[in-house]
């Protein structure tokens, strides 16, 4: 059903057809999802390494190399996903930035233009969660893994 009142001129997302929904979805949720998954898997692996059964491993402050490698690979993967999502959001932004009058600054204030609004969200989320993931990666090298 189409609206009898608003009409196409007032549609909130006139550029919606320029972007695949799946691409927009990945651009918005890719970085947060990557961060959350790496956080939880990081936690599980790091904790298991030092506390595999009922008792903590004493005299084992640095954990095992294989777990360290798995953690590093996981974090690199999460960084790659977050960066890809952010870059994709940037690309979508370029395609849709003219969806509504006004610049990026104007969009930040008013939010007008639904497709470009979500593209802006994807860019901000991409940068923010990429930084958060990098901090977790730095912790792999800066924090003693087990006890002490």
């Amino acid at each position: 059903m189409t609206s009898d009142i608003g009409g196409a001129v007032n549609h909130p997302a006139p550029h919606r057809d320029r972007v695949a929904s799946s691409a927009l979805l990945f651009a918005v949720v890719g970085a947060p999802a990557a961060w959350l998954i790496q956080l939880i898997v990081n936690y599980g692996l790091a904790a298991h390494d030092c506390f595999p059964h009922d008792q903590p491993l004493i005299g084992h402050p640095e954990g095992s190399d294989s777990i360290q490698l798995a953690l590093v690979l996981l974090n690199i993967l999460a960084i790659a996903v977050a960066a890809t999502a952010g870059l994709l959001a940037r690309r979508i932004w370029r395609k849709t930035r003219e969806e509504h009058s006004g610049s990026a600054h104007h969009l930040l204030d008013t939010g007008e233009g639904r497709t470009r609004f979500l593209a802006m969200w994807g860019q901000l989320a991409g940068i923010g969660f990429l930084i958060a993931t990098i901090f977790d990666t730095v912790a792999l090298y800066g924090v003693p893994r087990c006890f002490g």
């Binding site: 059903m1 189409t2 609206s3 009898d4 009142i5 608003g6 001129v9 007032n10 549609h11 909130p12 997302a13 919606r16 947060p32 961060w35 959350l36 956080l39 939880i40 990081n42 936690y43 790091a46 904790a47 390494d49 030092c50 506390f51 903590p56 954990g63 009058s101 969009l107 930040l108 204030d109 008013t110 939010g111 007008e112 233009g113 639904r114 609004f117 979500l118 802006m120 969200w121 901000l124 989320a125 923010g128 930084i131 958060a132 901090f135 977790d136 912790a139 792999l140 924090v143 003693p144 893994r145 087990c146 006890f147 002490g148």
Partner: protein, 648 residues
């Protein structure tokens, strides 16, 4: 009606007196006890939520005042240790579970359809069910307290203290089953909010035009759907350990006490955000009205609301820093707990910029909203501090943490709620609250709160542990505790002034009219109080500020508020698409029904049976539950749910 009735092209018309009368007949709830028990009107349910939540706030407040008398001086013997344990645990349970979220649910229930341009929530009967279950669960949990078997192990109820070996009374059974009971209400309400926002918005209200309060409640609801099962499971496993000798948390039999903490805090920390994000949304929507300008930075503020909740799923272990987990594992959660300050700061700076660049009109509502920023920063900074593992090791289980959580929960929940009452009371009742009494109300609460809780940081830093029923003389905590006790009574007096103002103004307050604040959102386009059908025609929206389009001149397009879809073939509202709010279908909405109330009675019988081991009652309650669900879901021709409906 044909089955295509939901796909018919709805009539577009201007609202007329005749159509308003017709809609009033269709949507109104009958008066008296029948209407009271059967109504599904979101406005009535919303007001009931708010009143019930405030009743629990008063109970929790009285408990707090008794504790403050006990702690006002050293070696006080007003309460026994067991009485004190039950008081602080019941106080926590009351404020966190029975006041903080339900009061926000009340505002959201009342306001959502009005903010979204709809005639009711997506599932009106589920809405009524959510409220009745909340009341029943609250009574259930308080029944234990009334017979001396309230929770006595803190609101987070750690094992092994909560196990039968150390806690043989019924205290934990009331609490465990009560929390599972309450979880039904929370989950039902959350699902309803999510479907409502993605399905019943006015045409044109794309997701980038949602009020921030909608974003706040939406993210809180999504979080609740994900995390309430964790705590329900935790309490169920505890109940099994206590009743049937399972060993989920019994370390001597291979169980894991830490499992309790994980399950509880996977729920508990997102819950904290669930009880502040909608309130932050109220500030984001209310504050700009008094600054006479739109919110600065709508796009990042909306994103920060969602991002806070996403990050909030990754911070639960910061409640467990002192449990002996490996360093690296802790560091991930420490990082997340510190990073979460970023989206919070986005909101704070947006509010400050809105005040700075606006023309503030200093009303009582403005004072409450603006003061929340100060309290939020104080509570946020102390939270930031405890996000650091070494600092947390020093502060954990001290009064510093108590001060922090009260700045968060009172500062970011109760103060915005008080502001929201001043802001939306005219819409609820058609009358204004008294502004002069409001000033007294605000300053008494603000000063009292800070006298009570600011020194408490020092009490904690000087080493006073939380949850002790008294303390010895000469520890240096005497005068700090006395100041806190005096402040808490002043704060309580401030809340009393709020209640007096509500009662007085409800009767003889100044008449408000539809839009006394010259606000910009849809709820102010309808009469105060709104008619049962909300909108005589479904509005069509072309901006985020439909009532400010003339002043803002953001574009030439104008929202259509007086001409729109009439939808008067019974109870109907429009269904729209999730992203852009293009019209999709006509939703046939259910009539008032006793089914939600009857289902609640049945579920209550089930829980009472489980509590008392009256298995026959549990069985009766179980069968009655199934029966009530069948009554509820029995296909109705008027809703297009029967096979012959398409041929009628």
């Amino acid at each position: 009606m044909t089955i295509l009735d939901i796909e018919r092209r709805p009539e577009v018309a201007a609202a007329s007196e005749a159509s308003r009368r017709r809609l009033d007949e269709i949507w109104k709830t009958p008066p008296g006890i029948a209407g009271f028990l059967s109504t599904v009107d979101h406005k009535q349910i919303g007001i009931r939520y708010i009143i019930t939540a405030f009743a629990f706030l008063i109970l929790g407040g009285i408990e707090a005042l008794i504790m403050r008398v006990q702690l006002g001086r050293p070696e006080q013997q007003l309460l026994t240790p067991e009485q004190y344990d039950q008081l602080f645990s019941t106080h926590g349970m009351t404020m966190i579970f029975l006041y903080a979220l339900p009061v926000l649910s009340g505002f959201s229930n009342y306001l959502w359809p009005l903010l979204l341009g709809a005639r009711d929530m997506a599932f009106p009967r589920l809405n009524a069910f959510s409220y009745w279950i909340y009341v029943a669960a609250g009574i259930f949990m308080y029944a234990g307290f009334a017979i001396g078997a309230g929770p006595n192990d803190g609101w987070f109820n750690y094992v092994p203290y909560a196990s039968r070996q150390f806690n043989p009374g019924m205290n934990m059974d009331f609490y465990a089953l009560g929390m599972i009971f309450l979880g039904i209400s929370t989950s039902a309400g959350a699902a309803n909010f999510i479907v409502t926002v993605f399905r019943t918005r006015a045409p044109g209200m794309s997701i980038n035009r949602l009020p921030i309060m909608i974003w706040g409640t939406l993210t809180a609801s999504a979080a609740n759907l994900l995390v309430v099962p964790a705590v329900s499971l935790a309490f169920f496993l505890l109940w099994m350990d206590r009743q049937f000798g399972t060993h989920f948390f019994d370390v001597s039999q291979g169980g894991q006490p830490l499992l309790w903490q994980h399950l509880f805090w996977i729920f508990g920390h997102p819950w904290v955000y669930a009880i502040v994000l909608p309130a932050m949304g109220m500030v984001s929507d209310g504050l700009p009205v008094f600054c006479r300008r739109p919110l600065v930075g709508y796009t990042p503020v909306a994103l920060s609301t969602v991002a806070t909740m996403v990050l909030g799923f990754g911070v639960w272990v910061h409640h467990m820093f002192a449990t002996g987990m490996p360093n690296l594992a802790l560091s991930f959660f420490s990082g997340a707990s510190i990073v979460i300050a970023v989206p919070s700061a986005v909101a704070v700076f947006a509010w400050l910029a809105t005040i700075w660049s606006g023309r503030p009109v200093v009303t009582t509502a403005f004072l409450f909203f603006a003061s929340m920023i100060v309290l939020f920063v104080i509570g946020g900074v102390s939270g930031f501090m405890t996000g650091s593992v070494p600092v947390d090791w020093q502060l954990t289980d001290t009064y510093f943490v108590v001060a922090h959580l009260h700045y968060v929960l009172i500062g970011i929940n109760l103060f915005p709620v008080a502001g929201a009452i001043y802001y939306w009371f005219p819409k609820f009742t058609g009358r204004m609250l008294d502004e002069e009494l409001g000033r007294w109300n605000f300053w008494t609460m603000f000063i009292g709160f800070n006298i009570a809780f600011l020194p408490m940081h020092l009490t904690g830093l000087w080493g006073m542990p939380r949850r002790v029923y008294t303390y010895p003389d000469g520890m240096g905590w005497d005068w700090l505790n006395l100041i806190t006790s005096v402040g808490s009574f002043l704060f309580a007096f401030g809340i009393l002034l709020l209640l007096i103002n509500v009662v007085k103004s409800r009767r003889d307050g100044r008449l408000a009219g539809p839009n006394p604040w010259d606000a910009s959102t849809l709820e102010w386009s309808v009469p105060s109080p709104p008619p049962p059908y909300n909108f005589a025609v479904i509005p069509h929206i072309v901006s985020r500020h439909p009532l400010w389009e003339q002043q803002l001149q953001e574009s030439d397009a104008r929202s259509s508020l007086d001409t729109g879809y009439l939808l008067d073939h019974g109870r109907e509202t429009i269904a729209t698409t999730s992203l852009d709010s293009d019209i999709d279908l006509i939703l046939k909405m259910p009539e008032d029904s006793y089914a939600p109330f009857l289902l609640t009675v049945a579920v209550s019988a089930l829980f009472v049976g489980l509590l008392l081991h009256w298995w026959w009652l549990a069985a009766v309650g179980g069968f009655a539950t199934v029966g009530a669900i069948m009554i509820w879901l029995w296909p109705e021709r008027d809703l297009g749910q029967t096979a012959d409906a398409g041929h009628g």
